[in-house]
Structure formats: structure tokens, C-alpha cells
């Protein structure tokens, strides 16, 4: 196996849906893995090899002390670190609880205020803890986007970082605008594209599962737009918080940060 790029896949706190999405690329899975030396991918194989990796793909949020320790170890032994999916990029749906008292949360779920599993008190994206070289958003990730990124990384390159919102993909597919035509609470304008506007295409407003466009999304403008369409501010903010709670501008809107 000498000379092959060493690759590891790791899971922190989340539903493991991103790694599952990779395993679901069934018809191309062998093509993907024949190109690399697979060092670790516990969901696919119990054969875990020792040593460092060239590329580490990490899904899940940094939620527990165990996550924190694991992530630091991964960062120390990899050359490039790729955050896979919304949990790793933004903290995931669980991060929408940011700001609530962790003891209250523990009590409501487990009936005790005791910290049962080393909960850090909040759910952080990888980039708040370590240096991240590439982020692939989505809940879960898009398989096509993963393949393109995988090929780029194997060539020592980085893929196109998408900076366009879902609106662009709606227009490309000529999907009637759910905001303009129906006044729906669509988060397309602030959400990073790459899904080919899957939900609006089927008439369902975007809930922002690919996360906000980093450093660009105008969440205050989105809030204003939704309020003008008759949405209550709290409902509009909660809708945005689902996947974007740790986006700095949204944190400001809800009084944190």
C-alpha cells in the first residue's frame, strides 16, 4: 500500500448520517476506496490502523470531553482536516440549544442535573476548536460534492467553496420563488447552495440545512424579510436557529456574542 494517500473517517457527536451517506455511494464505493489507504472508518470496518493520516474526514459536533480529546488527537496526526456535514461545520441541530442551561437540558432528558457524559455545555463546530482546512456542509452532505472534494484533495488541491445561496439554484432550475409568490418562510437566501434547491423544487421552503453562507449570510435582512411577510420575529429566529445558531450575526440577533 506504499505511496497511497492515508485517509481516516471519524465521528464525533451526531447521527452519523454523513459517514452513512458516503457508504451509501454504493455503486462507486470501491472506486473511491481503491485510491487510498483506509486507516480508520469504524462504520465500515473494524480494522483500524495505527499512525497518522494525510486526510481526516470528521463528522459530528464537539459536544463532549471525549469529542474534544478525539478531535485534538485527529488534528495532531493529520495533514488536512475536512469537516463533514452540518454538525462539524456549524454544530448541528443540537447547537440550536446554545444559550440554554445545560443542567436544565440534562434534567429534562435524563431526569438529573448531573453531567452524565462529560457534556461541554455547548455543541461546537470543529472550526471553533481546531484549524479546519475544508468544510463540506449539509445535513447530510451531498454525495456528489463529497466525491468532487475527495478527488481534489487526492490531487493536493481544494475544491470550489460554494459561496452562492439556494436562490441561485432555484433560478437555474426555474423554480417559482416561494418567498415572492407565496410569502413562505424560505431560508434559501441565506443558505449555502449545492443541494440543487431540492426542497423548493418540490414546493417546500428551505429550512437552511446546509447552513448559512459563511461570513456572507444577511440574517438580519432575512429576519426583516420574514417579518414583512407576516412572520413573528421569534418564529423567524427559531427557524434560522435550527441550523445557524452559531453563525455570528445570528448569535448577535438573539443576544449572544
Amino acid at each position: 500500500m506504499a505511496g497511497k494517500v492515508r485517509v481516516g473517517f471519524y465521528s464525533l457527536t451526531g447521527c452519523a448520517g454523513d459517514l452513512l451517506s458516503i457508504l451509501n455511494i454504493e455503486d462507486r464505493l470501491l472506486e473511491i476506496f481503491e485510491k487510498v489507504e483506509l486507516v480508520e472508518f469504524v462504520m465500515a470496518s473494524s480494522n483500524v490502523k495505527p499512525g497518522g493520516v494525510d486526510i481526516a474526514f470528521v463528522e459530528g459536533s464537539v459536544t463532549t470531553e471525549k469529542d474534544l480529546k478525539a478531535l485534538k488527537e485527529i488534528r495532531a496526526k493529520c495533514d488536512r482536516l475536512v469537516a463533514l456535514g452540518d454538525c462539524a461545520v456549524w454544530g448541528g441541530v443540537q447547537a440550536s440549544l446554545t444559550g440554554l442551561d445545560p443542567r436544565e437540558l440534562m434534567k429534562s432528558v435524563y431526569g438529573t442535573e448531573q453531567n452524565l457524559y462529560g457534556f461541554l455545555g455547548e455543541h461546537k463546530p470543529l472550526s471553533e476548536v481546531v484549524k479546519v482546512d475544508l468544510e463540506l456542509p449539509g445535513c447530510p452532505i451531498e454525495q456528489e460534492e463529497f466525491i468532487k472534494a475527495f478527488v481534489s484533495l487526492l490531487r493536493g488541491d481544494l475544491p470550489e467553496v460554494k459561496d452562492y445561496p439556494v436562490c441561485i439554484e432555484c433560478k437555474i432550475r426555474e423554480v417559482p420563488c416561494l418567498v415572492v409568490e407565496k410569502g413562505e418562510a424560505c431560508l434559501g437566501p441565506i443558505t449555502v447552495g449545492g443541494c440543487k434547491a431540492r426542497c423548493p423544487y418540490h414546493g417546500v421552503p428551505c429550512i437552511g440545512c446546509r447552513g448559512p453562507i459563511k461570513d456572507e449570510a444577511n440574517v438580519a435582512g432575512e429576519l426583516l424579510m420574514l417579518m414583512e411577510k407576516g412572520w413573528k420575529p421569534l418564529d423567524a429566529i427559531n427557524r434560522m436557529k435550527l441550523f445557524a445558531a452559531r453563525y455570528k450575526d445570528l448569535a448577535k440577533l438573539v443576544g449572544r456574542g
Partner: protein, 337 residues
């Protein structure tokens, strides 16, 4: 250029003649608005419509397309599509004028062969229209098409007066011998009456004279921020604009690591990467910069046609999710009300 008269009850014969020339695409109602789509029969479309969301440019620069095959050793090879003839039936004057602007951009010294071949395989059939509350084509001089069409249908009530704009149009009219008639002076009076009536229907206007200089001069106005704060930077205004012509190019390799494609996608000057250059410099880093840039671009003159880069179709206002009104912005910056 000449003019003939087609009684409306014989419109189907024109439609059949167009269909025998190529695929006919016409405005079809989709949601609350319209879309140019392939049509086979008269009942599928309407010539009495406000506006399509996506302008006719989609036929010539596709929203997304693969343009080159890539091979890491052999290099690049153009992807040549099978050429097919397309008739765009029911194009408004503003959109025809926008195509004239795009023609200049894409078929200048170095023609874009994807655009040029599709354009030469197309026939443009214009139709007269009545403005709604968003149209301001008249104030930018785009409410009438002097050129840029093969046929232009002017509604005078029970008939169309058809201006014939070139050899393709002539070939269609030639097939309609015995169907089309010579117009009479009464028809021309009706045409003039229609024009006068239409002219009075415009409710919105833009002070287009001096606009390029004024907008450029007021680049530093603090009023821009009022609107750019509301702007979501989503790029919808660019994609629905009939004269926006920027595209982005990306390249990717397949899993075999040898073959791939180079693709292009309609771009927007509201996106971060639009003004991002090598070395990481972004010469329009903020939404305010990009907002002002777009208004400057739309308020400048296309040197080839002498027209403003805005044809007054109203799409950017209608399809802005944030409800930003193009005319309100310009009037407010200027200090007009």
C-alpha cells in the same frame, strides 16, 4: 423591413409555419408568472403575459452547462451539442433589446461559439405588450424594438400587424401567402392608437438621462447602505436580469482522476467569489460594495448599442425576495421622489 397583416383567426397558420421551422418555445404560466417552454399547440401558451421570471437569455447562455471535456493528458475538447432550431415566440421589446446587448457582448471580436451557434439557429418573434406596475422600459427607450427580431407581432385588435425583420422572417411570411394581407391605412391608425394607449399606461419611470454620470457621481452617498442592509445578497436580481451576462467557470475531475468537465454557471456580482482574485484580494469585499456596483453597472451605457444596460423589464424588483425596488433605490440616491 416590411409589414404585413395577419387576422387573428388565422394565427394557427403562423404557428404551424413556425413549428415547421423549428421547436417553438413560448410563455407558459408557471406559478404566478411565466416561463418560456417548448409548446406544441395553441392552448399551451399565451401571448398576453406580464413577464417570465427567467429571460430568454437562457436559450443562448445556459444557466448551467458543461462546455469542455477535460483529460489530464490530452487536454481540452469542446463539448459540441447537436444544433437545433428554436423559435422564441412572444418575446417582449425589452427582452429583444436585452438580447441585442448580449449579442454585442458574446459575439464581439472573439465570439462565444456556444452562444453564436444557438443564436444563429434561433428565430425571435416579438409581440407587443401592455405594461404593468413594474414596467419602465419606456423611460429607458427599450419599449420598442427597432431591430433584433425576425418577426414582430403588433396587436391591433382583430389582427396582428407583423413587422418582418429579416430573411428568416421573410421565409415564414412566404409560407403564409394568401393568409397575410397588405395592411390598410385604417390598420395603421389602429396601430398608432394602440401605441398611444400603451404609452399612457406606464405608471413608473426612471430618469434615464444623465443616469450613468449621476449614479457614478453619487457613489459615496450614505443612502446606499439603507438598501444594502436589506439586501440578502442572494443574486436573484442578477439571474433574472435579461442583460446580466456574467458566468463562473469551474472544473472538476471524475473519480478516475483522468477525465472531467469544465462547466459554467450563471454568476452574480453579489457573490463573494465574483470579485475575488488570485492572492485572496477581493476588490468588492462587502455587500455595500457589490450593491453599488450592480446599480452602477445597470446604470451604465452599452457602447455597442448605445443603450442603457437596464431595459426596464422590472424583473429585479418583482423577484427580489427582500422587496428592494430598483427604481426606488435610484430615485432615492438621486434625491428624487
Amino acid at each position: 423591413m416590411r409589414i404585413v397583416k395577419l387576422p387573428k383567426e388565422r394565427f394557427s397558420e403562423l404557428f404551424e409555419a413556425l413549428k415547421s421551422w423549428g421547436e417553438v418555445h413560448a410563455p407558459v404560466k408557471v406559478g404566478r408568472f411565466y416561463s418560456f417552454k417548448r409548446v406544441e399547440s395553441l392552448g399551451e401558451f399565451t401571448l398576453s403575459y406580464t413577464r417570465t421570471m427567467i429571460p430568454p437569455k437562457k436559450y443562448f447562455v445556459k444557466p448551467f452547462e458543461d462546455i469542455l471535456k477535460v483529460h489530464v493528458e490530452k487536454g481540452y475538447e469542446p463539448i459540441v451539442e447537436e444544433s437545433k432550431r428554436i423559435v422564441l415566440l412572444g418575446v417582449h421589446a425589452c427582452d429583444i433589446n436585452a438580447l441585442r446587448i448580449l449579442d454585442g457582448v458574446y459575439m464581439d471580436e472573439i465570439p462565444d461559439h456556444y452562444y453564436a451557434s444557438r443564436r444563429s439557429n434561433s428565430m425571435i418573434v416579438g409581440v407587443s405588450c401592455e405594461p404593468d406596475e413594474y414596467c419602465f422600459c419606456k423611460s429607458v427607450g427599450a419599449d420598442y424594438a427597432w431591430t433584433g427580431f425576425d418577426l414582430f407581432l403588433h396587436d391591433i385588435g382583430d389582427s396582428y400587424l407583423i413587422r418582418v425583420g429579416g430573411s428568416k422572417g421573410e421565409s415564414i411570411v412566404a409560407e403564409l401567402t394568401g393568409v397575410v394581407e397588405e395592411p390598410t391605412s385604417i390598420d395603421y391608425v389602429k396601430l398608432r392608437d394602440y401605441e398611444l394607449k400603451r404609452s399612457r399606461m406606464f405608471r413608473r419611470s426612471l430618469n434615464a438621462s444623465y443616469l450613468p454620470e449621476v449614479v457614478d457621481s453619487l457613489y459615496g452617498s450614505e443612502l446606499w447602505a439603507k438598501y444594502s442592509d436589506k439586501c440578502l445578497g442572494c443574486g436573484s436580481c442578477n439571474l433574472v436580469c435579461p442583460t446580466c451576462r456574467c458566468y463562473d467557470v469551474t472544473e472538476s475531475l471524475d473519480l478516475n482522476m483522468v477525465e472531467g468537465v469544465r462547466s459554467r454557471r450563471w454568476d452574480s456580482c453579489f457573490l463573494r467569489s465574483h470579485a475575488l482574485v488570485a492572492g485572496g484580494l477581493n476588490f468588492r469585499p462587502t455587500r455595500l460594495d457589490r450593491f453599488k456596483h450592480r446599480y452602477n453597472c445597470k446604470s451604465s451605457i452599452d457602447q455597442r448599442t448605445g443603450m442603457l444596460f437596464c431595459v426596464g423589464c422590472g424583473r429585479c424588483t418583482v423577484f427580489c425576495p427582500a422587496g428592494i425596488d430598483h427604481l426606488e433605490v435610484l430615485n432615492s440616491i438621486w434625491g428624487l421622489r
